[in-house]
């Protein structure tokens, strides 16, 4: 456990991707089986400590510290595990026993009953130092947050020998911890592990966001364009091989989400693997992401939910046709096979995402500006931009730069006034980084319309943080209310993707993906936008052209569903 804790500690501070890979690989080289296999499971998120709830950790620390001091500390540190690791009263040095192994920790959590866990955990924490306590708590609460993706950990395994990370991705779905066969293969000591999943996930290919300067080097004739639908990227795999058909729907990270969409899975009758967008269609029309969202993250999938929110796939690509792997064919050839597959598909619930014709970048820009007039018709509201794919692009896992680009629509923007600020968690802890902002209503009052916690640079964060600390008018726990009158306060230019009616917010509106586009130190709060302007946007789907998207130093990904 010590060695693994030290690895996590180093990883937490190592910014370089290659540095992280080297650190992990170095650990794998020196740690024995099965310890390193459990570590790989931890790094790839394959472990589940279902019984270790944050509530149990809170109870343990509550029994050992003053509640007010704990609350203040937790608010300051912004991370439960770290707070507890730092505050945990260490036992007398003489009482400290040998620290436990990772395998022993995992085994204990897997076998002990819920009632025995608090005592076990307290005993483990007593035997570890600050770093060890932090690593253990991070591990069992499933929030390592050390900037290591499953992909990166697999890449580190690949560097042990001649195997590539993509080859590991392909065998991965059939593997279980502690991965001794995988390490043996990677180190050239054993055969390639066989995958037993009849409908396996294929690592998804992702696109880079295109910047204006990128177009200069690109020839329109080399590319095909299609709409970027505002849904959830999925991979549908169906294998009829021999017996009963196996149908799986995967998220773009390879998570099996079939259980949430039985209506869709049942309808599919092709054989192969389709890459597409999961959408809700009503009477043939694609619904907005807001509608789709109402179907997501539901604990139970009821008949009513399925009837109200029928799930569809709009197909982009074909990775496997029958049993033939097409990923090493060019996009144009795969597209042809996809068109044929879509034409003969009888199950419904799946259609083809059309190509967008264009001869020049200007023509494509026009289509992007006005999807309704360029073939998207009534579905234009669900278009969030265009995708550019080289006709000769192979289907490559990950986000290779060059073959695919995404060109999203410009966001809406609004000038709003900062009203409340809260300290962030995780990386942003101890900085006021979560902002509630408002616009003026007809009565001349500010009403909150949204919250944003990114989009700004580090320098801007420091400036806002200082503004908040110096202009606090009220404190509510971790939240500070800041000056917001017509003449004094901070105006934020907020960019967002869309607006929906909401009963949860006082303004009656909910913003989608809001982020801070610019700080308007120059603008008096009295000149910020008015609620009526936002109300009009709810009815008006397309953002007005010319309200440009500003390039930020560290653009944030719109989470998960974005390709």
């Amino acid at each position: 456990m010590n060695r693994f804790a030290a690895l996590l500690d180093r990883l937490a501070y190592e910014p370089r991707r290659n540095g992280k890979i080297r650190l992990i690989a170095d650990y794998f080289r020196h740690a024995p089986d099965p310890e390193r296999g459990w570590a790989l499971a931890a790094l790839t998120g394959a472990l589940s400590f279902r019984n270790a709830k944050p509530g149990m950790i809170r109870q343990l620390i509550a029994a050992r510290t003053d509640p007010v001091l704990f609350a203040l500390s937790y608010d300051y540190v912004g991370d439960l595990s770290e707070t507890v690791a730092l505050m945990w009263p260490a036992p007398a040095a003489a009482a400290v026993a040998e620290p436990p192994t990772l395998a022993a920790v995992i085994d204990a959590f897997a076998t002990l009953g819920r009632g025995e866990l608090p005592e076990l955990l307290a005993g483990l924490l007593d035997r570890l130092d600050e770093t060890g306590r932090w690593a253990l708590l991070k591990l069992i609460t499933g929030s390592l947050r050390i900037g290591v993706s499953a992909r990166l950990a697999k890449t580190a395994v690949a560097t042990l020998g001649e195997v590539t990370a993509d080859e590991i991705e392909l065998v991965w779905p059939g593997l279980v911890p502690p991965y001794e066969a995988l390490f043996a293969w990677a180190e050239g000591r054993g055969p390639r592990p066989e995958t037993e999943n009849p409908a396996p996930f294929r690592p998804v290919m992702l696109a880079h966001a295109i910047e204006p300067e990128d177009f200069a080097g690109l020839d329109p004739a080399d590319f095909r364009a299609e709409w970027k639908w505002d849904g959830i990227r999925v991979q549908a795999v169906r294998s009829a091989g021999g017996g009963e058909a196996v149908i799986r729907l995967y998220s773009r990270t390879g998570e099996d989400i079939s259980g949430a969409f039985p209506d869709l899975a049942e309808a599919l009758d092709f054989e192969g693997a389709v890459d597409g967008e999961l959408l809700v269609l009503r009477e043939g029309r694609v619904q907005s992401f807001n509608v789709l969202q109402q179907r997501l993250n539901r604990k139970s999938v009821t008949a009513r939910l399925m009837a109200e929110f029928p799930a569809h796939i709009r197909a982009y690509d074909l990775l496997v046709d029958g049993t033939q792997d097409l990923r090493s064919l060019p996009f144009a050839a795969r597209r042809e096979r996809l068109e044929r597959l879509a034409a003969r598909h009888r199950g419904g619930r799946m259609d083809l995402s059309p190509l967008v014709g264009f001869a020049s970048w200007d023509e494509l820009a026009a289509a992007r500006r006005d999807p309704a007039g360029h073939g998207a018709g009534a579905d234009a509201e669900a278009v969030e931009g265009v995708m550019l794919k080289r006709a000769d692009s192979l289907y490559l896992p990950g986000r290779p730069k060059g073959p695919w680009w995404k060109w999203k629509r410009d966001p809406h923007t609004v000038d709003a006034v900062l009203m409340y600020a809260q300290r962030g968690h995780g990386k942003r802890s101890s900085f006021y980084s979560d902002y509630t902002f408002g616009v003026w209503n007809a009565a001349g009052e500010l009403v909150p319309v949204g919250k944003a916690y990114f989009g700004f640079t580090d320098a801007e964060l420091a400036q806002i943080d200082r503004f908040v600390r110096r202009n606090t008018v009220n404190r509510f726990g971790p939240v500070r209310e800041v000056t917001h009158t017509a003449t004094e306060g901070l105006v934020l230019e907020v960019a967002f993707e869309g607006l929906a009616r909401s009963t949860r917010h006082r303004s009656g509106l909910a913003m989608r993906f809001p982020r801070i586009a610019r700080l308007r130190w120059d603008k008096p709060p009295g000149e910020a936008d008015r609620l009526e302007a936002l109300e009009r946007l709810v009815a008006e789907p397309a953002p007005s052209p010319g309200r440009g998207q500003r390039a930020r130093s560290s653009p944030q990904q719109e989470p998960e569903h974005d390709g």
């Binding site: 501070y13 910014p15 500390s73 770290e82 730092l86 995780g426 320098a459 400036q463």
Partner: protein, 352 residues
């Protein structure tokens, strides 16, 4: 008589109505007592300044010889009277020349401790608890999550890394006054005898420490270093310089940061620090409690930092305690923790 007749908090900082002087005022005043040379406590433009000789020297280095109308050096332990109010300076253990200000009047004694730490520090006189009725404490690290490790253990992280990456320069962010010289002194104590390269912002102050008998060894300006000399060397710079153009001259450096804030992982990560060194010139949670209790005070006033937690602890410990909500202190450390400072023209720089 109430302590408030002797000392109150004002928008300019602590003020003594009876003695008509300020302690560490944030704006120019007629008469100021200065605890130490950090710029959030020591500002230029006062009429008369009373401080230790070292603090006066440091202010002259930073602001020029004419930083105040008149300057009066007070040795530790010597009582000076101003308008009938007694002022005695005592070592605070924070940086070279740092002092606590004991103010006595009609049998009442209030100690304004400025910034302080009771831990060992080879660069300054050790903190000395002073018996008093009211103790005024900072609370920069006033939360139970702050327990500073042994300085030698933190410096060992740096020397271990130098051994592990002998081809890389080790860029250590440290506040130019106090922390930089303490890092150098600790490295020397650990046996590191190579040239230590300095950012321009700390050359004069480091030379001053050396002139006061705190051996800095072979220190030279980083701008004079050849690339080959920097491999495996320590370079000390202000935290802000780690992320600005200045640092680009060092190919693939290991970035370290010496600060008590490094105890919080998110702080280290925010600053892109790869080698956090938990090294503070402020009292940690345990030190704050021990120092406050050692004064025998019945009342605690808390100036800046995590005042809520320290006040809560003090109330539980049976003291009268309250926060002063002083504005304008702690910016040194706050800025040391943020790589980029706000542009001077930003409207946020005007305290509201």
């Amino acid at each position: 008589m109430r302590p408030e007749d002797l000392l109150i908090s004002t928008p300019q900082g602590l003020y003594s109505p009876a003695g008509d002087f300020h302690v560490d005022p944030t704006r120019p005043v007629a008469r100021a007592v200065i605890t130490h040379g950090h710029s959030d406590h020591a500002r230029a433009g006062h009429g008369a300044v009373l401080a230790t000789a070292e603090t006066l020297d440091i202010m002259a280095i930073r602001y020029g010889a004419d930083f105040a109308g008149t300057r009066q050096a007070a040795p530790f332990g010597t009582r000076v009277e101003v308008n009938g109010v007694g002022i005695t300076l005592h070592p605070a253990g924070h940086i070279l020349g740092s002092a606590q200000v004991a103010i006595d009047w009609r049998g009442l004694r209030i100690v304004a401790s400025g910034d302080y730490k009771p831990g060992a520090d080879p660069t300054c006189a050790p903190f000395e608890p002073v018996r008093c009725d009211v103790f005024i404490s900072e609370a920069t690290f006033g939360l139970p999550v702050f327990r500073h490790p042994e300085p030698a253990q933190e410096i060992a992280k740096l020397t271990d890394s130098l051994a592990l990456f002998p081809e890389r320069a080790h860029l250590v962010g440290a506040y130019p006054l106090g922390k930089a010289q303490r890092v150098i002194a600790l490295l020397r104590a650990a046996g590191h005898d190579r040239t230590i390269w300095l950012h321009g912002a700390m050359e004069k102050l480091t030379a001053y420490y050396d002139s006061r008998g705190i051996g800095m060894g072979d220190v030279r300006p980083a701008r004079d270093a050849a690339a080959v000399e920097l491999a495996g060397s320590v370079v000390i710079c202000p935290p802000g310089a780690m992320s600005d153009v200045w640092s680009r001259r060092f190919p693939d450096p290991v970035t370290a940061f010496a600060s008590g804030w490094m105890r919080i992982r998110a702080r280290a990560r925010q600053n892109g620090v790869e080698l956090p060194l938990i090294l503070s010139d402020h009292a940690d949670w345990d030190d704050l409690q021990a120092s406050i209790l050692a004064t025998g005070c019945s009342e605690l006033w808390v100036t800046h930092g995590q005042e809520d937690a320290l006040v809560h602890w003090a109330l539980l410990a049976g003291l009268r305690a309250r926060p002063l909500h002083l504005v304008g202190y702690g910016e040194e450390e706050a800025e040391a923790a943020a790589p980029e400072t706000a542009p001077a023209a930003a409207p946020t720089d005007t305290p509201a």
